[in-house]
Subunit: 205 residues, 2 copies
DNA sequence: AGCTCTCTCTACCAATTGGTAGAGAATCGT
DNA sequence: ACGATTCTCTACCAATTGGTAGAGAGAGCT
């Protein structure tokens, strides 16, 4: 905690604000979290938050940017490391997406907020994600040609997978409604069920 | 629009408030929609809303209650009407869930709000949904025994399906990020892809 | 030492929120 | 005809929100 009149220049304050914002936004949503609450979590005044980020919208932007960039790196690495078999590759991507999510639920929880973004924010996010998706779609299409994947619409498969992952991310607690336990073991079990589904649906007949 | 000093007793006002609240909550979230905005949509003052529903929380409750009850009826009817084959039955449920969603996107969009509910609200919702899920789980388990479905954990399958549907519901616009078009045709295509997936994953080897 | 830049602070503000108090018009049962 | 009930209104309020203005402490360069 920093006392009044002792503003030791602290380059990490910005990072700590981003960190707290990610957790809080992810857990309870952008609307429900005030700048003041974020500031309190960091041990700083609300106006300090507004010094680092000109407005709440800018802060949201920065958080999304950070998360998207990290996610892209993780997925990218997983794809490159995976063996040549397309089924194994899909499997690797699914596990790669869930790994950070298991460690830090707020990460995927943030996805829930995407639907509330402004047009420009959504566009910027898409700029990060789209290239990844396009590559995946082309890859899937190519492998369907070679017969190593069951034929289908790769874009729909991508959309469905994305929807499923965000669905899991969105509702770790809501899934209790269907009797699912939202702990790490439960998350892993659900991830594995998704892997099974994808394999079953993509394995050539 | 009702003019001042002309409060013709109108039993439908309550219904119209519920209706507007459903659409607005579903489209933009409970937090982002004020009572005043709902009132304006109905053509009434905010205080009239508070006359019919003691607080915003009560209004949210009522909307959820209504949606849950309707959804239960729809699914129930679909199951009863479906043929005896378990794969067809699963298929019928998926279509039944999507039918109201296609007609009225806000309906499933409301699911996004579930994660922000209070404990008591979540419990009440679960009271509606759980029996349905339990029946489905037992049914799936029984059919796995008879060999007409691939064996697996029925509860995980239910959870995964639920997550997928809510994922689609949550992100009709966010899915644009992966290049998916969020119109009715797109929704149908995605629904059919989900049906294909479920069939592929559940068909006995 | 003195000056500038970086950073966090105190003090405020206008707007919006959910909610309360209570007046008054229309309808219905008597 | 009349009183009670039902329903919507005007008028307020306390609390919270995102955001602004500007003071002032510490660090580093000259």
């Amino acid at each position: 905690m920093i006392q009044a009149g002792a503003p030791v220049p602290d380059r990490t304050t910005r990072e700590r604000i981003l960190d707290a914002a990610l957790d809080l936004f992810g857990a309870r949503g952008v609307d429900a979290v005030s700048l003041d609450e974020i500031a309190r979590h960091v041990g700083v005044r609300k106006q300090t938050v507004l010094y680092w980020f000109d407005s709440k919208e800018v802060l949201v932007d920065a958080v999304l940017e950070k998360v998207a960039a990290e996610l892209v790196v993780v997925i990218d690495a997983a794809v490159r490391a995976a063996p040549d078999d397309p089924l194994d590759r899909v499997d690797a991507v699914v596990r790669a997406v869930f790994r950070p999510a298991v460690r830090r639920p707020a990460l995927l929880g943030l996805v829930r907020e995407v639907s509330r973004l402004s047009q420009s924010q959504a566009d910027r996010l898409a700029a990060h994600i789209s290239p990844l998706v396009e590559r995946a779609v082309h890859y899937l299409a190519a492998e369907m040609e070679t017969g190593r994947l069951r034929t289908g619409d790769p874009r729909l498969i991508a959309a469905l997978s994305y929807a499923t992952v965000t669905g899991i991310a969105t509702e770790p607690e809501a899934l209790r409604t269907v009797g699912w336990v939202a702990d790490q073991a439960g998350l892993r079990a659900l991830r594995d069920e998704l892997r099974t589904f994808l394999r079953a649906a993509l394995t050539p007949l």
